[in-house]
């Protein structure tokens, strides 16, 4: 109940006392009993047009259009409700509301809370509305774009002049459209001469990308969401789609095959609740689990011999390797009883269409690539590829992580190419009309090495776009120190309030989702359209425009003459994709995407399959030169920082709720979303651990690792295993504790497991 008493305006009092009714008796009755009036009318709903059903009178649309959501990689279609402008300009009044698109093939009329509130977060008071430049006293002051661009150019060019072109790096993102990230990568590398740039996708999907590239020859998640419905056995590994991808879970709930659902996760998550068998394996023991499973299948002769013989390479070596992974051994490593392992194997064996799905539990690991490949290997040896309801399927994180993997021009050359290959460089140079010598002939440093480069003084200038490393980077206490060593830090973001923007020397105000056009690629390789349906506040500009301004001011604008607007850039991307596995040169234009409800790659100019939902590898041909997928494997390694001694707990991290997105720069701006999750950090503690340490529910406790110490409220639950703690990643405290360990192949940070201790006394 709220306590504030707002003074009543006389006009309202008068209205309340002037009842609606006919005649004197009617009015007198209305004075006593008012069934209608101004307050009732505020909440009236009227028959909606455009097939939307009833909608509140306060924001009836004049027209609608569809755009893809800009949070996660599910890529849901949203009907944006538009009002016309004051003089009847069509759509000129901008978006007033949204509803999930009934027909969109991804979400079938549904959205998660983040999507429903996607427009609400655009109105936040902490939107960056003008460039901000640090003055002599270290205080950020608004400046105009002209000054901001001059400063950007002068400072970065000065650094490059003194320390070499490589001394300035950029951090891209999976949160902007492909056209923008491609232009960024092109301007930075071909125009500004930067060599090093990586994306925040390093934190979420690098492992999957590397695993696919090595195993099947291209970064190609093979599935379509229909596979959630067509599979009769779904194995979720380190994935909690109920909270992380609720709309993918919608598709699982629509599965009519009475599927077996196996969930491999140390925690009893919402998804585990819906499992037919929850396998609470010890953190990071999933690699051993899949080796053991493979061995059991091989020993029992349950191998798809034809598929293995015709479409894979290295099976014999793999079979020999996994021989050591008996259920006795795997039981020891996973903590799962041997009979449970056998039960899992038999359940999988009994089904026809087995699909395996993984997310961050696998990717964010010290051995993520090999773990992902253990999953891929298992699906290969059972021939579970290319058929409906099968596949080794990575569920991606950010809305455009998949676009970033192909077109960010950071650690890979545009279109899934290789900087180190002269032919690839020549091809890109030709297609972009860029001098070939402007294309670096070596890979960029990965995100962790860029950070290390700053520490070593090799990187002196950093340009951060639409990501928030000061919150999200692993072991972030150290990062604060690292970022403070930079000579010049530029942050380009929608909000001036992110942890990173607050310490920037220069903040460039960016338009957000809904304020610009572009395309994103979702987890099932579907290219979807974003649309400008809101005016950006103040001087904020689409990132695309900002990159163009920077190119112009830098003096390399003419290289990007063809990139006039996002749709023109899209045609360039089509050209870059042609002939690659991700070929989508057959897509006509934005309107085609809009009409088709998004289009999955591949969609080549010649012979494209027009089906709405398509999967890869139906012909068993993989992208390696020999057409075969490889079995890749390695002895599992122990946790880099195992629990024990002074730090007896294993600290797990992950998503807290479906209403929170990453570092909360956007989701914390919606009052409705804020109601749906705890407002400050909490730690999940097992009931017996809490009892042992005399920690009462809701008590403020201290969680410490070798790297930091935080206060958090205890949520006592047996959903987290004994000996483990869980911290949601959305709170700025969490990454003060995580340990800077990385997968050796993907360089992805291992957020999910480090050693920690718990103190009942928070002081």
């Amino acid at each position: 109940m709220s306590s504030s008493f707002e003074p009543l305006k006389p006009s309202r009092v008068l209205a309340d006392l002037t009842p609606e009714g006919d005649g004197l008796i009617g009015k007198a009755t209305g004075m006593l009993r008012a069934k209608t009036g101004r307050l009732t009318r505020e909440l009236l709903r009227e028959p909606g047009r455009f097939g939307l059903g009833q909608l509140p009178v306060v924001n009836q649309p004049d027209r609608t259009t569809t755009a893809v959501c800009g949070y996660c990689s599910t890529g849901c279609g949203l009907n944006i409700h538009l009002q016309d402008g004051p003089n009847g300009e069509p759509g000129g009044g901008g978006a007033v509301n949204l509803t999930p698109t009934t027909e969109y093939p991804v979400n079938l009329g549904m959205a998660c809370p983040k999507g429903w509130e996607a427009l609400a977060v655009l109105d936040a008071p902490d939107r960056a509305v003008a460039p901000l430049l640090k003055d002599g006293h270290g205080k950020q002051k608004p400046v105009n774009w002209d000054q901001a661009l001059d400063t950007f150019r002068d400072r970065f060019q000065a650094i490059q002049k003194e320390h070499g072109a490589e001394s300035v790096a950029f951090l891209s993102t999976g949160q902007i459209p492909t056209e923008e990230m491609a232009l960024l990568g092109a301007v930075a590398k071909f125009g500004m001469g930067l060599v090093h740039g990586d994306g925040n996708t390093r934190q979420c999907m690098a492992t999957a990308a590397v695993a696919y590239k090595q195993s099947v020859g291209f970064d190609a998640p093979p599935y379509t969401y229909a596979d959630f419905e067509e599979s009769d056995c779904l194995i979720f590994v380190g994935a909690n789609p109920c909270l992380a991808h609720p709309i993918m879970w919608e598709r699982v709930m629509r599965n009519k095959q009475k599927p077996e659902i196996l969930v491999l996760d140390p925690r009893a998550t919402e998804t585990a609740m819906n499992a037919t068998l929850h396998l609470p394996a010890k953190p990071k023991s999933d690699q051993s689990f899949f080796y053991g499973l493979a061995n059991y299948f091989i020993q029992n002769g349950w191998v798809d011999r034809d598929f293995v013989a015709n479409h894979t390479a290295g099976f014999e070596e793999y079979a020999r390797f996994v021989e050591a992974f008996t259920f006795e051994r795997v039981s020891k490593e996973t903590g799962l009883p041997a009979e449970t392992l056998r039960d899992a194997a038999l359940r999988i064996r009994a089904r026809e269409r087995v699909s395996a799905w993984w997310t961050m539990g696998v990717n964010q690991s010290h051995q993520g690539t090999r773990t992902a490949q253990a999953i891929i290997n298992f699906q290969l040896l059972t021939g579970s590829f290319g058929k409906p309801g099968t596949g080794a399927n990575s569920i991606t994180g950010q809305c455009n992580a998949m676009g970033s993997r192909l077109f960010s021009n950071t650690t890979g050359l545009l279109g899934g190419r290789d900087f180190k290959k002269a032919a690839d460089r020549a091809a890109v140079a030709g297609m972009l009309n860029v001098p070939e010598e402007r294309i670096p002939d070596r890979d960029s440093l990965a995100y962790p090495e860029i950070i290390e480069g700053i520490l070593k003084g090799k990187i002196r200038g950093l340009w951060v776009i639409a990501t928030n490393p000061a919150h999200s980077w692993i072991n972030r206490n150290q990062l604060d120190d690292v970022l403070s060593r930079l000579d010049f830090l530029v942050v380009q973001d929608m909000y001036h309030s992110t942890e990173t923007a607050k310490i920037a020397d220069l903040v460039l105000p960016a338009a957000g989702w809904g304020e610009k056009d572009g395309t994103v690629i979702n987890s099932e390789r579907r290219i979807g359209l974003l649309k400008k349906v809101r005016k950006a506040p103040g001087q904020a500009l689409a990132d695309f425009s900002i990159f163009k301004l920077i190119a112009d001011r830098w003096g390399c604008g003419e290289l990007f003459e063809e990139w006039t607007d996002p749709e023109a850039a899209f045609h360039i991307l089509k050209r870059l994709s042609a002939g690659m596995p991700c070929d989508f040169s057959g897509i006509r234009d934005y309107r085609h995407l809009d009409e088709a409800g998004g289009v999955q790659w591949p969609y080549p100019a010649e012979g494209a399959d027009p089906a709405v939902e398509r999967r890869l590898f139906a012909d068993g041909r993989f992208y390696h030169a020999d057409g075969r997928a490889k079995f890749l494997f390695e002895e599992p390694r122990p946790l880099p920082e195992a629990a024990g001694g002074k730090y007896p707990f294993t600290l797990l991290t992950g998503r807290g709720s479906a209403s929170q997105w990453h570092t909360q720069t956007r989701t914390s701006k919606s009052a409705v979303l804020r109601k749906l999750y705890p407002d400050s950090v909490y730690v999940e503690v097992h009931v017996r651990d809490a009892r042992r340490l005399q920690i009462a529910p809701e008590q403020t406790v201290r969680v410490e690792s070798q790297r930091g110490s935080i206060r958090a409220k205890a949520f006592v639950t047996n959903g987290v295993p004994e000996g483990c703690l869980f911290l949601p990643m959305h709170y700025p405290e969490t990454n003060q504790l995580t340990d800077g360990q990385f997968d050796p192949y993907s360089r992805q940070p291992a957020y999910k497991a480090c050693a920690a201790r718990l103190l009942a006394d928070a002081n």
């Binding site: 006593l32 505020e42 001469g193 163009k548 003419e558 409705v672």
Partner: protein, 588 residues
């Protein structure tokens, strides 16, 4: 885009072939760069390009979403003995909470406002494969989506003093009439499911109406439309089966007992829910709103009634020799009128206070207002006569007594109604004995305290007129000390609940009073002890003459401190109570 601003990129000097910064900085004329900025800013502000994509959504007869929700709506309208109810399939609720945001968006609600909430029940045992011990079985996380239950016996409707609720005779939907509401918020206390929410900005309560007009059009409510997992449906329920469910307490673990309001929502599951399921916010203790206007109103009406009561008893004891004392009458009346004034401050729309008696048939709040509405003019008449026509009392044998009893009778009826307001809403801290003892205790303690004060004041002002025939300072002081001590001891007893093994409502109240409400609690007991017990005891021991300044000062101090203590007690009455509610989400 086709409608975008066309601009030409300035052609600049050729970049250096090695990459890196060009040698010549800013080779372009500055104006060109500024033109580009202006062009891009203009382009950013232009929204009309979206027009070319907006044609595809043609007019449609049926809402597109109906293809998904058709099976979630009842095929027929409710018959006799039936109504609509929400049906929640717990096995399908995954905790995404899209229903909450959809309710907010599709109903045009204010920032942060939504009529659906999602709670969490958790419990069960250690996961399989972990070490053994503790509760058996698997851990359980069960999200629970909840909105208005459109009860057969809606507590909100019964509580409402202005009939701002109506229950549709056919659909059974409990609808709030926003323009009828005057913002007393009594329904927010009465509903055991915490459904009606007060909107301070508008001064009224708003709540879920099951999207009645959508249902009337064959459309699904917002939450039903938006659940990705089809966990929420509208069904026709038999009222008899609702009653049977309530009798068996088969509503939902962790929810209030359904026998109070007969909620019609059906929570169904094929799972066996473990017995140790607790709401995720079970251990959360949060203070409630203190409702200062109500606290003041209650304490002061009780003071006023108590003052008249004590006087009447004393005059009765004096065998009819004593006449009503103008000072006492003034004090008694003034506090009472102040109380009634304070109560209107509580209303979100005080200008509609005249509607307050409409719900007399069912609302204890209406009855309270009627009773005090009777008490006020009687008390004014009684007091007015003491000032302007004291001869009436001198002439008549029966008038003073009769009028006095009428005033006290109406007042006690008012106090009784006040008590019932809180007793009927079934909060543990407000149960019958607890509320009755508090409210009557305040009546007696403050009645004695104010009489002690007026006695000494009157004796000091008019040394010749002994109000009740003889000096009553000492007996009044002793009575006050005894009454106040009893009340304080009774109140202290709440801390016994700190030893409850379970986290009961009363233990929560005690925890609140020792933690977040520590300050008000200390204030209550210090003021109450000083003013109610210590000073009266000293007064009784010292026994100064009523007309001495010492007696007056002591009595004034005792009264003010006691009054302060009682106000703090009443603040705690509101703020330390534990509301009933549906299982909440994580609040840590």
């Amino acid at each position: 885009m086709s409608a975008s601003v066309q601009y030409a990129l300035p052609i600049l000097g050729g970049p250096s072939a090695q990459g890196g910064p060009p040698d010549e900085l800013s080779a372009a004329p500055a104006e060109q760069g500024i033109d580009l900025i202006a062009a891009l800013l203009a382009q950013q502000a232009d929204l009309t390009a979206v027009e070319r994509f907006s044609q595809q959504h043609a007019e449609a007869d049926r809402p597109g979403q109906s293809r998904y929700y058709q099976s979630l709506l009842p095929a027929t309208a409710p018959g006799p003995g039936q109504q609509y109810g929400f049906e929640v399939d717990l096995d399908r609720c995954s905790g995404c909470k899209a229903c909450v945001t959809a309710c907010h968006s599709l109903n045009g609600l204010d920032d942060g406002e939504a009529w659906r909430e999602v709670g969490l029940l958790h419990g069960g045992g250690q996961a399989a494969g972990g070490s053994s011990g503790g509760a058996s079985g698997l851990p359980v996380l069960q999200h629970v989506t909840t909105a208005c239950h459109h009860c057969l016996e809606p507590a909100c409707l019964n509580a409402c003093p202005v009939d701002a609720y109506e229950k549709d005779p056919v659909t059974g939907i409990v609808r709030h009439l926003d323009d009828q509401c005057f913002g007393c918020q009594y329904c927010t206390l009465a509903c055991p499911y915490d459904v009606p929410k007060y909107h301070a900005g508008k001064g009224i309560v708003r709540k879920c109406d099951m999207c009645a007009d959508r249902l009337a059009d064959g459309e699904a409510p917002a939450c039903v439309q938006a659940c990705p997992h089809e966990a929420i449906a509208i069904r026709v329920v038999d009222r008899d089966s609702v009653i049977e469910h309530a009798e068996a307490n088969a509503f939902l673990p962790g929810a209030p007992n359904p026998d109070y309001t007969l909620p019609t929502t059906v929570y169904k599951t094929n799972r066996v829910l473990p017995r140790n399921l607790l709401p995720a916010d079970y251990y959360n203790v949060r203070k409630e709103h203190g409702h200062w206007p109500l606290a003041i109103m209650l304490v002061l009406t009780q003071l006023s009634v108590g003052a008249f009561l004590v006087e009447l008893i004393l005059r009765g004891a004096a065998g009819g020799r004593a006449l009503p004392d103008p000072v006492h009458a003034f004090f008694s009346l003034a506090w009472g009128l102040l109380a009634l004034q304070a109560s209107t401050l509580h209303l979100g729309r005080p200008h509609l206070a005249f509607r307050a008696a409409i719900g007399f048939k069912h609302s204890w709040l209406s009855r309270e207002i009627v009773a005090f509405g009777l008490f006020a003019p009687l008390a004014m008449l009684y007091a007015g006569l003491t000032w302007w026509r004291p001869e009436f009392y001198e002439r008549s044998e029966w008038l003073p007594q009769t009028l006095g009893w009428a005033v006290v009778g109406a007042g006690l009826l008012g106090v009784f109604c006040s008590t019932m307001i809180y007793v009927v809403v079934r909060r543990e801290f407000w149960n019958g004995p607890r509320t009755t003892l508090r409210f009557l205790g305040t009546t007696v303690v403050l009645g004695l305290a104010v009489t002690l004060l007026t006695g000494t004041l009157s004796a000091n002002l008019f040394p010749n007129a002994a109000a009740y025939g003889h000096d009553l300072t000492r007996p009044l002081a002793i009575a006050l000390a005894a009454a106040a001590a009893c009340k304080l001891i009774y109140e202290v007893a709440v801390f016994q609940n700190l030893r409850d093994l379970q986290f009961t409502a009363m233990r929560r109240t005690a925890v609140l009073m020792t933690t977040v409400l520590r300050g008000p609690t200390l204030t209550r007991f210090v003021l109450g002890t000083l003013g109610g017990v210590v000073i009266p005891a000293l007064l009784a021991v010292g026994d100064p003459a009523a007309n001495s300044p010492a007696a007056l000062y002591a009595a004034a101090a005792a009264f003010l401190l006691t009054l302060g203590g009682e106000l703090a007690e009443r603040y705690l009455f509101f703020s330390a109570v534990v509301r009933q509610k549906m299982p909440g989400g994580m609040t840590v």
